[in-house]
Structure formats: structure tokens, C-alpha cells
């Protein structure tokens, strides 16, 4: 969709080149993952899940961090724009969180021999999923301005909880070692070609995140506009 103006309002301030850039980055990431990156010796080809799995996880954290920051500014400034940012980022965070939770077990099954282990990061992701799904439920109808404020508070509380969850899970994990480890799969100390592939994937995901965020915010803004218009029509019709 190209940018344009109607009645002096920007209908879609969405530059087409940005969508193209995101698209190119995604294709480049795929090319790197399946053609350029070497196959890891210990894990074989499933290791290639790593690039999108970890990119999703990092994008998820960026999204939840965006919810946190936007929530603070919303409570402070009371501007709808920040509330729409927080809500849209939360929805995207849950989307990427779901992708992490799906690809984690698919990667883990051939490596660990089980679909699920209470691996600290995977467990943290699961708890975050529960928190932010509750966030989305809390604001299922966004019409009540008070609800936006409550959601902002949950956005702040939820993100502050992240290090505490991480800390507690690590303590708890010391008591529950991995059930079966078929192969140990380390991802630290990546060789340069793999690191580059990962960075390209991460860049693509972050570009995609911003793209989706702005699309989602356009929906939120339009819903708001629609409500204002409905109110105006009612007023004009019935005084």
C-alpha cells in the first residue's frame, strides 16, 4: 500500500519501500539459513531452526520491552498513541512468543530426545506467554479508558517480573536436571558464517516487527476513529 493523504489526514503513512526492505531482508535471511550457513556437525540440519527460533525470542523481548516503555509513557502522558503502541506490541509479542514455544519443542525433540524440557529460557517464555495473554484478555474491548490504564500497569508489572522469573527458574532448575540428553546442543561461540546468518535473521525479524507494529497500530487508530465517527453520526441524527 502506498502512502497517501485524504482530507488532510494521513490515511496511510506507510512507506512502500519499507515493506520492500522487510521482504528483501526476510528472503536474504532464508537464503543465508538454507544455502549460505554451514550445517552444524553435532546437531545436523535441525540446528538451522536456531536462526528463526532465537530471532523470534529476541523479537519477543523487544516487543515486551516496547510494551513496558509505552505503558510507562502512557500513564505519564495519557496520549492514546502510546496506549495503541503498547497494545499492538503486546499482540506481536504474544505472536512471536507462540512461535518460540512451537519451534522450541520441534528443535528440542531430535536434540534432547523429548518434546519439552523445563529449560530456563523455554520456561520463561511459557510464563511470559501466560502473562501477556492475560494482558490481551484484560483489554479485549479497548473502549473503556480505564482498561487501557489497567493494561499499562500490567505491562509494567509483567516486564519487571521478567528478571525475577528468570532468577527463580534458574534456582529451581538446579533441582531438576534435564531428563534425557541425546546430544548436547550449544549455541555459544558460533562460527562467523553462522553468526552472520543469525544477525541477518535477527535484522529481518526486527524489520518485520516494526512493519507489523505499524500495521497493527493503524488498525487500533482506525478503530478509534470509527468510534468517534459513529458517535458523531448518532449526534447528528438524534441531536
Amino acid at each position: 500500500m502506498a502512502g497517501g493523504e485524504k482530507n488532510g489526514r494521513p490515511v496511510n503513512f506507510w512507506p512502500g519501500w519499507y515493506a520492500m526492505l522487510t521482504y528483501v531482508a526476510m528472503v536474504a535471511a532464508l537464503w543465508c539459513i538454507f544455502v549460505y550457513a554451514p550445517t552444524e556437525k553435532a546437531q545436523g540440519i535441525v540446528q538451522r531452526i536456531f536462526y528463526f527460533h532465537v530471532s523470534s525470542a529476541m523479537t519477543m523481548f523487544v516487543a515486551f520491552f516496547a510494551v513496558f516503555v509505552a505503558s510507562i509513557i502512557y500513564l505519564w502522558k495519557h496520549a492514546d498513541w502510546w496506549d495503541q503502541t503498547a497494545m499492538s506490541a503486546a499482540e506481536l509479542g504474544v505472536l512471536f512468543c507462540t512461535l518460540v514455544l512451537i519451534t522450541g519443542p520441534i528443535w528440542g525433540r531430535p536434540i534432547w530426545g523429548v518434546w519439552w524440557t523445563w529449560d530456563p529460557t523455554l520456561t520463561l517464555t511459557l510464563v511470559l506467554w501466560l502473562i501477556y495473554v492475560a494482558y490481551l484478555m484484560l483489554r479485549a474491548d479497548a473502549t473503556d479508558p480505564r482498561r487501557a490504564r489497567f493494561a499499562a500497569i500490567l505491562g509494567i508489572v509483567g516486564f519487571i517480573d521478567v528478571p525475577l522469573i528468570r532468577w527463580s527458574i534458574e534456582k529451581w532448575r538446579n533441582l531438576h536436571p534435564d531428563p534425557v540428553i541425546v546430544q548436547s546442543g550449544g549455541t555459544t561461540g558460533l562460527p562467523p558464517a553462522m553468526m552472520l546468518t543469525f544477525l541477518v535473521s535477527l535484522t529481518a525479524f526486527l524489520l518485520l516487527f516494526v512493519f507489523l507494529l505499524r500495521q497493527r497500530m493503524a488498525i487500533a487508530r482506525r478503530r478509534h476513529e470509527l468510534e468517534v465517527l459513529r458517535y458523531k453520526v448518532d449526534e447528528a441524527l438524534f441531536g
Binding site: 489497567f150 519487571i160 525475577l164 529451581w172
Partner: protein, 229 residues
């Protein structure tokens, strides 16, 4: 907010009013206590009669019971506020709204402490654990954990007060956020039952304390936004 005489007096007055109402009706406490007993008994049935297994899960059952008791107590409190619509009146009367939060959290803390005190003998009896040696240490962990549960639970209960699906939303919001507190409290309690002392479980004590302090400060800072009209 300012912690001064007036603030404390206001918080004290609201707390005294709540406790007096509760003393007459005993609704919140009764539902919390009966529910806690129920959770402990139901878990007994599901675990079976293996003594080693019972001992292993005892701490977890105790904290799950307290966690649910918090939800039940807060739901009842929220329902009563909604029925009588007295929160608005109180809000108009107090200058510092954090006083209201503090009073509500303290009330919940007192109910939970009483419930914990009543359930401990039954718990020791049914789960066949000897708590006499570790009682003072256990008291510290229970008190610290209950502070966290009450602070976080009260904040969320006041958030859901005005929304449609409040009965469902309170546990949905409260349970995942309280995960760190739950993990630390369960394992701290388990270690104490196994004969360790507070010095051995310093990490858990620190974690619970950090949780309490972080959410108490945060709740007091943002409470004005919860009740603002």
C-alpha cells in the same frame, strides 16, 4: 506519597474499619480457611499414601493452598466492595490514595497469616511432617511470602474491580506474575521441612525479599493510576 502521621492514620483507619467489618461477618476469613483445608485434603487424595512422596510435595501443596486462598479472599473482598460501592466513598475521603492500597494489602496479609497459622497444625498432622524445630524459620518464610502474595494480589484485585470478567481475570493476571515468589517459597519451605535453617536457604530468602520490595514500591508508585477517575 509521603509517609507521615496523617498517611499512617488514614491507612490505620481504613484497616480498622475493614477488620471490624470482617470481625462481624467473618466471611472472607471463613471462605479462605475452608478453601485452604479443602485444597490440602484434595491433594492428599490425589497423591496417594506413599509417605516419601507426601513429604516431597508437602511444601508445594501448602503454597498452592495459600496462593488459592489469596485469590479466594481477594475475590470475596472485591465482591463486597462492588456490592456496597464503598471504595468510591473511601477514595473521596483519603488524601493519599496509597493509604487505601496499604490498608487493603495489610488486611489481606492479616487474613492470610491467620489462615496460615490455622492450617499449619492440620498440615503437619495430615502430611506427617514435624514442624516444631523449624517453626520460627518457617514463620519468617511464610510471613515474607504472604507479604508478596498480598501486595501483588491486592494490586491486581483493585485493577479487576471495575471490569466485567473480574472473577476470571484475577487469577489469570495474578498467578503467572507470582511464579517467582511461588517457586522460591515452595523450595525454601521444603528445605526447612528437611531440617535446613534460614542460613542455608539465603538465596531463596533474598529472592522473596526482593520480590516483596520491588512490587511494594511499584504498587505504591502506580496505585494512583489504578483509582484515578
Amino acid at each position: 506519597m509521603s509517609v507521615n502521621g496523617a498517611f499512617m492514620r488514614q491507612a490505620g483507619a481504613i484497616l480498622a474499619k475493614d477488620l471490624k467489618t470482617e470481625w462481624r461477618a467473618r466471611e472472607v476469613f471463613t471462605s479462605m480457611f475452608v478453601f485452604t483445608v479443602l485444597v490440602v485434603v484434595v491433594f492428599q487424595f490425589t497423591i496417594g499414601s506413599n509417605p516419601a512422596l507426601i513429604r516431597e510435595v508437602a511444601a508445594g501443596v501448602l503454597w498452592v493452598a495459600l496462593l488459592f486462598a489469596t485469590v479466594i479472599g481477594l475475590q470475596r473482598a472485591v465482591q463486597m466492595e462492588g456490592e456496597e460501592d464503598c471504595l468510591q466513598g473511601v477514595l473521596l475521603a483519603v488524601q493519599d490514595r496509597s493509604a487505601l492500597f496499604l490498608a487493603k494489602a495489610l488486611a489481606n496479609m492479616i487474613y492470610l497469616l491467620v489462615v496460615a497459622g490455622c492450617i499449619l497444625p492440620l498440615f503437619a498432622l495430615w502430611f506427617r511432617v514435624d514442624l516444631t524445630a523449624s517453626l520460627p524459620d518457617l514463620g519468617v518464610i511464610l510471613a515474607l511470602g504472604i507479604v508478596g502474595l498480598s501486595v501483588l494480589g491486592t494490586l491486581f484485585s483493585l485493577i479487576v474491580l471495575n471490569i466485567r470478567m473480574r472473577e476470571v481475570m484475577l487469577p489469570l493476571l495474578f498467578l503467572p506474575v507470582s511464579v517467582p515468589l511461588l517457586i522460591a517459597s515452595v523450595y525454601a519451605t521444603g528445605d526447612l521441612i528437611d531440617g535446613k535453617t534460614l542460613a542455608d536457604i539465603r538465596d531463596y530468602v533474598i529472592l522473596i525479599t526482593v520480590f516483596d520490595v520491588v512490587f511494594l514500591v511499584l504498587a505504591v508508585l502506580i496505585f494512583d493510576y489504578v483509582v484515578e477517575e
